[in-house]
């Protein structure tokens, strides 16, 4: 048998053994497409992030830089305007003309009218004495000879002071110009200006959100109020970059708390003032997350969708693959089984034929002995001889029944329909297991309702079905157990066969899988294909197979078969 070519078809591999293979395959099916879809998406998001950050930075710098240069220009213009007006007064009027308090007062009035922020006006002679004064304070006769600003104005011709509180308890600064006369003598025209002038220039500009702009002097003292740093004349710990005379300098700094500060400095020409503008914004990444929430949401949604789709698809593909693998294995097993049965069948037919001829001879010779004995008058032990011959012919009959059954199983492979008496078919099947039944003392009851109609079906395949079911029953019952087979007519076109055992029963969870290929509770002993093939055959023949069981309650298999199969 082992050497028969029909027997060497590959043994189907149980696919459940290959489960790690499916897991690995599924993992690959998830990882590779996910990467292929997600990597470009993430790269796109990263590029978008970089571009946004760059745009955001340059936007901050640009906003500060524009603010700074606009404000500086208007501040410079305002200072220049006031200096120019003082210069014009000094040029157009003679010293004699100015040396008159009433005249100074008239000029101050004109200035206030035109500019609004002039507080007082004084004329100081070369000796540093303010000889004429117009304004709210008693400063006539004050001597500035030893004050540094007086020296500076006499040297440079123009002077703009820091902001100071001075005697008058409100912040102001001074613009002074020196006028040199033909004789080498000079006088100084000194005006006090309200710092409103500076503040107005700053607040006149619309400030961007979370921004601050203020003026400090070169010593870091606030010259105007600052939203962040304090009141006028407070000292501020800001490092003013050196060499800022003519340019704007913009610095960026990360603050603790994820914020980013952009700060710009610009010196106001011809004054001790430095204009400072700064803005604080969310650090760029946080800002980006906030600003581009649409991108982020799209990214997250895409990732989720891709992962879900890929994972479901892969699950689907794998289960399809598993299904087809298991179908193929089952087919292979069927084929192997078919081959084996065909081989067995040929062998059985050969044996049957070889045995049949000598059996026929024994049969005829014995018959002849009986004929002779019957026809030749009386002789000793005649009756005994006749009865011996009878027992020979009975044995020959038994032998020939065996050979016929062997031939029957041999011819099982072709599907053919014929009239079948189910009762006698089941008796045949039971015949095969009679020895086991006797050995294990198992009681088998076959009961058939009267008038069960014969059915049109395939004898061999039907025998296979009941052989499988009854073998299972044998496996389930204890020695001394009982198997009941009942045959009944359900209706005019359907009969039912129930095989009931009083064996161990089947657990509910196993019961669900009992007809699945490769499912076996017999461990290594079973292929797990018996009941799966049984179900296939029953369904192919147009029938239904069902099972009911419970632990300790035994098992009932019910097979309903059509009397005539309608294709």
């Amino acid at each position: 048998m082992e050497h028969n070519p029909a027997d060497i078809s590959p043994r189907p591999k149980n696919p459940t053994v290959g489960l790690p293979r499916y897991r690995r395959l599924r993992w690959n099916l998830i990882v590779i497409p996910s990467l292929a879809a997600l990597v470009p998406l993430i790269i796109m998001a990263a590029i978008n992030y970089r571009q946004d950050v760059a745009a955001y930075k340059s936007e901050s710098r640009y906003a500060i830089s524009r603010l700074l240069s606009n404000t500086r220009r208007s501040l410079q213009f305002a200072l220049e305007e006031r200096r120019a007006v003082l210069t014009l007064i000094a040029k157009n009027r003679s010293l004699e003309d100015l040396s008159n308090d009433a005249r100074l007062m008239a000029i101050l009035r004109d200035l206030k009218e035109s500019f609004g922020d002039f507080v007082d006006l004084g004329l100081i002679d070369g000796a540093g004495v303010q000889s004429f004064y117009a304004g709210p304070y008693a400063l006539k006769g004050a001597n500035y000879k030893d004050q540094p600003w007086f020296h500076e104005v006499s040297l440079r011709g123009v002077y703009v002071s820091d902001v100071f509180q001075g005697l008058r308890k409100f912040p102001h600064f001074v613009i002074a110009i020196a006028r040199e006369m033909k004789d080498g003598e000079y006088y100084v025209l000194r005006a006090t200006i309200d710092t409103e002038l500076l503040s107005r220039q700053i607040y006149a500009l619309e400030l961007i959100e979370r921004a601050d702009m203020f003026i400090i002097n070169k010593d870091g003292v606030l010259q105007t109020r600052s939203a962040f740093h304090g009141e006028v004349l407070d000292s501020v710990a800001l490092n003013i970059p050196p060499h800022i005379l003519d340019r704007e300098i913009i610095e960026e700094k990360d603050l603790p708390g994820g914020e980013r500060m952009t700060m710009g400095f610009a010196a106001i020409a011809g004054s001790p003032f430095v204009l400072v503008a700064l803005s604080v914004r969310e650090a760029s990444f946080t800002h980006w997350l906030y600003e581009r929430s649409d991108v982020i949401l799209f990214l997250i949604a895409s990732v989720v969708v891709i992962l879900v789709v890929v994972s479901f698809r892969s699950k689907h593909v794998i289960s399809r693959l598993q299904e087809s693998d298991s179908r193929r294995a089952k087919m292979l097993h069927n084929l192997e089984y078919t081959n084996k049965m065909a081989t067995l069948g040929r062998l059985a037919a050969g044996v049957a034929h070889e045995v049949n001829n000598p059996l026929a001879i024994i049969n005829e010779k014995a018959g002849l002995i009986k004929d002779i004995a019957t026809h030749e008058g009386d002789f000793p032990k005649k009756d005994k001889i006749i009865s011996l011959v009878d027992s020979i012919t009975t044995s020959v009959d038994r032998c020939s029944r065996v050979t016929r059954r062997l031939l029957g199983f041999g011819r099982r492979m072709e599907t053919r329909r014929e009239q079948i008496d189910v009762k006698s078919l089941i008796d045949d099947v039971l015949d095969f297991q009679r020895t086991e039944a006797a050995h294990r003392n198992i009681r088998i009851n076959v009961q058939s309702a009267p008038e069960v109609s014969p059915i049109q079906s395939d004898r061999g395949q039907l025998q296979q079905v009941f052989l499988n079911i009854i073998s299972n029953a044998y496996a389930a019952v204890e020695d001394g157990g009982t198997i009941d087979v009942a045959i009944s007519q359900l209706n005019s076109n359907e009969i039912a066969v129930t095989v009931t055992d009083d064996g161990v029963g089947i657990e509910p969870k196993d019961l669900q899988n009992i007809f699945e290929p490769f499912f076996s509770t017999k461990g290594e002993a079973g292929t797990g294909l018996g009941l799966s093939i049984t179900k296939d055959i029953v369904e192919k023949l147009g029938g239904i197979i069902e099972v009911q069981s419970g632990i300790g309650k035994g098992t009932v298999f019910t097979v309903n078969m059509p009397v005539e199969k309608v294709d």
Binding site: A349, A352, H353, N356, N357, L359, A360, I361, I362, N363, E364, K365, G367, L368, D371, I372, H375, V396, D397, S400, R401, T403, R404, R405, L407, G408, R411, E418, I420, D421, S424, D428, R459
Partner: protein, 126 residues
Amino acid sequence: MSDFRVLLVDDEAELASALVERLEYRGIAMDYATDGAGALKRLQTSAYDIIVIDLKLPGMSGEELLRIVNTSYPRLPVIMITGHGFEEGRGYEKPAGVYDFLPKPLDLNELIKKMNEAIKANEPGH
């Protein structure tokens, strides 16, 4: 008692001789041949009411002999016997030109019954 002549063709002499003797005990006139050629020779010289042919014969097979008999002696009924045996409850498909087909070991009463039926069926009027 049946009064007809039977030609039995079977290569197994042991079987044939016993069968012949048993049938003669039952008043049936028997001849037998062990192969197709012998059978045809006998058919030329004697007249038979029925011929019983084993399916498996040496040289000319039972089927060939059947064809020749059917052609040359169309009125001679044929019963085939075979050692291949039949599956229980099912007969081999009966070849055309054969009255019946019986498995070995033979049931003698069944054989006699079938021969009677075949001859009766073959009588004019049927």
